[in-house]
Amino acid sequence: MEERQQGTTTRAKNTVKQAFIASLPVMAGYIVLGMGFGILLQDKGYTWPWALLMGVTIYAGSMQYVAVDLLAAGASLISVVLMTVMVQIRHLFYGITLLKKYEKAGKFKPYMIFGLTDETYSLVSRPELPENVDEYKYYFYLTMMNHSYWIIGDVLGVIVGSSFAFNSAGVDFAMTALFVVIFVEQWESAKSHLPAITGIVITAICRLLFDADTFLIPSMIGITVALFLEKRQLEKVLPAEDEAGEAVAEAKTAEAITEAETAGTVPEDTAQKDTAASSMKMTAEEGVTHD
């Protein structure tokens, strides 16, 4: 009985420890990007409780950058809804690939879904789990740790931004720079550049036709219509329709590796594992940029 209890305690401790280790790459990224958000927010006249509120309730990197702009402009709620949908729609697909994995997460599930940012997704969708951890608690802690780094960064940004007197003219460019970075990364990995070009051209045309406060909604409609018009052409280069997409592929690779390992075939598999590990690391690092 005592022994069993001890085992449980070690396992619980190890779960926290492993989650913390896995979350470390996200820590630096979230604190710095969170601070960028905080600095922008205080520049528009908001104090730290606002950053805390947004970090806790919205918890979405690029969307919070956009929200600063929506707040500064006093945007209409309908354009807030549309903008959020456009910026966050990719998160729909994270959920689709995790339907099975999170199926039995129980009481942890709602929070794990709420906190499914790009970075957290890239960590929880890794095919292998560290040894001796409680699966769902591990995902739960990971989600919570990433969330707390983001909140700390948000609040720190406001405090740093408002306590050091500096000429903040141009600090808004942090948002542009972040989007340019994500754009470059997507461009490099894209099978077709048509969607990216469509986004730029249609938005630019709409900006010429409408004024700065109203061009976004026509842009969104125009982009959606254009993407459906380009569907036949794009589907030739896109991977085949597959609901679980990459997650399935990833899981299969992991399975193959595990099977090969158990079978005891060594050299080739080690190489394969290295590739898988480095590609996973890339996913985690890439993740840092996307949210």
Binding site: L71, L77, V85, M86, F114, G170, I223, E243
Partner: protein, 108 residues
């Protein structure tokens, strides 16, 4: 800063829509996702990032001095630095400092 209740409303709407998007697969799509949605999920993120870059330039004038030079130069800086190091933090921080120098010193 706009008034408190409008600010709270914008934050609440952003938070609710974000959460709805994250929860919807678990609520709606556990039996399969409609093809048009799957298609949009593949292509829309790329188009949206292009849209957001243009959105950031919405108040930049290209027909009067300095003709968007600080923005274009700083974007070029970000692209080059990012292609070179692929380090998000370096690219974002460096690009922002570059832009701040351009508007505060060079094109002041």
């Amino acid at each position: 800063m706009i008034d408190v209740s409008k600010s709270l409303a914008i934050i609440a709407v952003t938070a609710v829509v974000t959460a709805l998007i994250r929860f919807s697969p678990f609520l709606i799509f556990h039996k399969g996702t409609p093809k048009p949605i799957l298609y949009l999920g593949k292509v829309l993120p790329h188009a949206v990032m292009g849209m957001l870059v243009v959105y950031c330039l919405k108040n930049t004038s290209f027909i009067s001095a300095p003709f968007g030079a600080p923005e274009l130069l700083a974007i070029l800086f970000v692209v080059i630095v990012h292609k070179w190091r692929h380090n998000t933090l370096l690219s974002v921080a460096g690009g922002t400092i570059c832009y701040m120098l351009l508007v505060q010193v060079v094109f002041a």
